[in-house]
């Protein structure tokens, strides 16, 4: 592997104890400031790849480095520069929106005043202001998704790893989120976006790779056309 890339993965494989092979020799290289889309049907292995890149999971075999660091040895250093939107809601249900963001900033060592300022800005942008003191369990699915995005962006991470980031959002909110993510990308943030929506990949990503049966391959526009025509998107 050579230096400079934000994400370098070689020959990643992962088989779960149940015997299901989620990844089967995945290679991925993402340069600083690049936005890479990973298209694939449900169960193709996208979330497993996202979890490995996020240091939540170890590969069965193969090598992965994020920011030039190995996750097994330098997990905290990687996580300090990472923003993640998981597929499921992982917000602290008993806490309000504001306290979720406050704790997240504190977990990343941000000063309290900076957290408050940034949280207010993100809540205003995502139209979450009126929910600031509402507990997460009282919010709709789409609003929770917005809070997840606000949380991921709070620390201004160098790498954003997004697993189906706009699932459950209405069209206007999706467009607003895409615009903001494009701003982040243009500002130098690296994006890895897992999705099974073509429009999302096209709106956000410089290039797209197709994930099928645990394998990842670079996809040109005609490959993606073929894949969608074949009904491979799982929707």
């Amino acid at each position: 592997m050579t230096g400079g890339a934000i994400v370098e993965a070689e020959g990643l494989a992962k088989t779960y104890p149940s015997g299901v092979t989620a990844l089967d020799g995945v290679d991925l290289r993402v340069q600083p400031g690049e936005a890479v889309g990973i298209l694939g049907a449900n169960g193709a292995g996208k979330t497993t790849l996202i979890r490995i890149l996020s240091t939540l999971m170890r590969p069965g075999s193969g090598r992965v480095r994020v920011f030039g660091l190995c996750g097994a040895a330098h997990g905290p250093r990687i996580r300090a520069r990472l923003g993640v939107v998981s597929q499921d809601c992982t917000l602290d249900h008993s806490l309000t929106v504001r306290r979720n963001l406050g704790f997240h900033g504190a977990f990343h060592g941000m000063p309290r005043a900076a957290v408050r300022r940034r949280a207010d800005e993100l809540m205003a942008w995502l139209e979450l202001g009126r929910y600031a003191d509402t507990p997460i369990h009282a919010l709709s699915g789409g609003t929770r998704r917005k809070v997840m995005l606000a949380r991921a962006l709070l620390t201004e991470p160098d790498l954003l790893v997004l697993d189906e980031p706009t699932t459950g959002l209405d069209p206007d909110s999706r467009a607003a989120v895409w615009a903001r993510l494009r701003q982040c990308r243009d500002g130098g943030t690296t994006l890895v976006v897992s999705t099974h929506h073509r429009d999302e990949a096209e709106a956000l990503c410089d290039r797209t790779a197709l994930m099928e049966g645990g394998r990842l391959r670079a996809a040109a526009a005609e490959d993606i056309d073929r894949w969608f025509a074949g009904g491979g998107h799982g929707d």
Binding site: R51, S54, T55, L56, M57, R58, G75, P76, R77, R79, A80, L82, V84, S86, D88, C89, T90, L91, D92, H93, S94, F103, H104, A106, F107, H108, G109, R151
Partner: protein
């Protein structure tokens, strides 16, 4: 490279908050629970025993309150993490997995210490009893809180999911509560019960507190100090290993 303590402290703070999410939660942990124990074992049952009975029982009440507070934090964090998938977000905090265990135990110990102090204040008010050596009593409560937190970390992480922990914990909680010198002193036990009691973390906390309350502990420092240190060290290793085994690969 120097380790930034702020993420760790924030996580420990979140764990402590698990025990006191709102005033109802705090009231239940810090006042209601110890009052019920006091009413049952200090008020209702004490007249049935001899005059030293309250001094024997009061440390047991503190011990149980400390144990339950540690359980509330560790169990609350693990259950919330599992049922609401928050654990996935917590595991993305920039602390190591070992640091995560330390924060969890630190938060639970802080909560247990607060609950223990509240129980001692209530005992002073209701029974008129107080520790002769408050510093030693406080140290014992902190030690006890840490030990119980470690026990519960093991109990909640050995099973694949926390909902399966309930069965295992009933095998741990009940013996600790009733065979671990909470409502009687260690020297009142005959063989083999005195030997069995040594395996219960509650024994060490209750006996140290008993010594500070009325000097009725029959357990010598020769047994107490190495026993307590061994329990803490072994549980620390076990908790770390159990947590790493469970969360090296995010399982839920």
């Amino acid at each position: 490279m120097a380790i930034d303590p702020r993420p760790w402290l924030a996580l420990a703070g979140r764990c402590l908050a698990e025990g006191m999410l709102d005033w109802r939660n705090a009231f239940q942990r810090l006042l209601f629970q110890p009052l019920i124990y006091l009413l049952a074992f200090g008020g209702l049952l004490s007249p049935l025993g001899d005059v030293t009975r309250p001094a024997v029982v009061a440390p047991g009440i503190v011990t149980i309150v400390v144990m339950n507070a540690a359980l509330a934090v560790v169990g609350g964090m693990m259950s919330t993490g599992y049922y609401f998938r928050v654990m996935e977000a917590w595991l993305l905090i920039p602390v190591s997995r070992g640091g995560f265990v330390a924060a969890l135990v630190g938060g639970a110990t802080a909560m247990a210490t607060l609950a223990g102090i509240a129980a001692m204040v209530l005992i002073r008010l209701v029974l008129g009893l107080g520790p002769a050596q408050p510093g030693l009593a406080l140290a014992a409560v902190v030690f006890g809180g840490a030990v119980f937190a470690l026990v519960f970390v093991v109990g909640f992480t050995v099973p694949r999911t926390p909902d399966r922990a309930q069965d295992i914990l009933s095998y741990v909680l009940l013996p600790m509560m009733f065979l671990g010198c909470t409502f009687y002193s260690w020297d009142s036990l005959a063989w083999p019960w005195n030997l069995l009691a040594l395996a219960m973390p509650t024994t060490y906390l209750a006996e140290v507190l008993r010594a500070t309350y009325a000097g009725v502990s029959g357990m010598s420092a020769m047994v107490l100090v190495p026993g307590a240190a061994s329990v803490l060290a072994l549980l620390g290793l076990a908790a770390r290993q159990a947590f790493l085994r469970r969360f090296r690969d995010y399982p839920w």
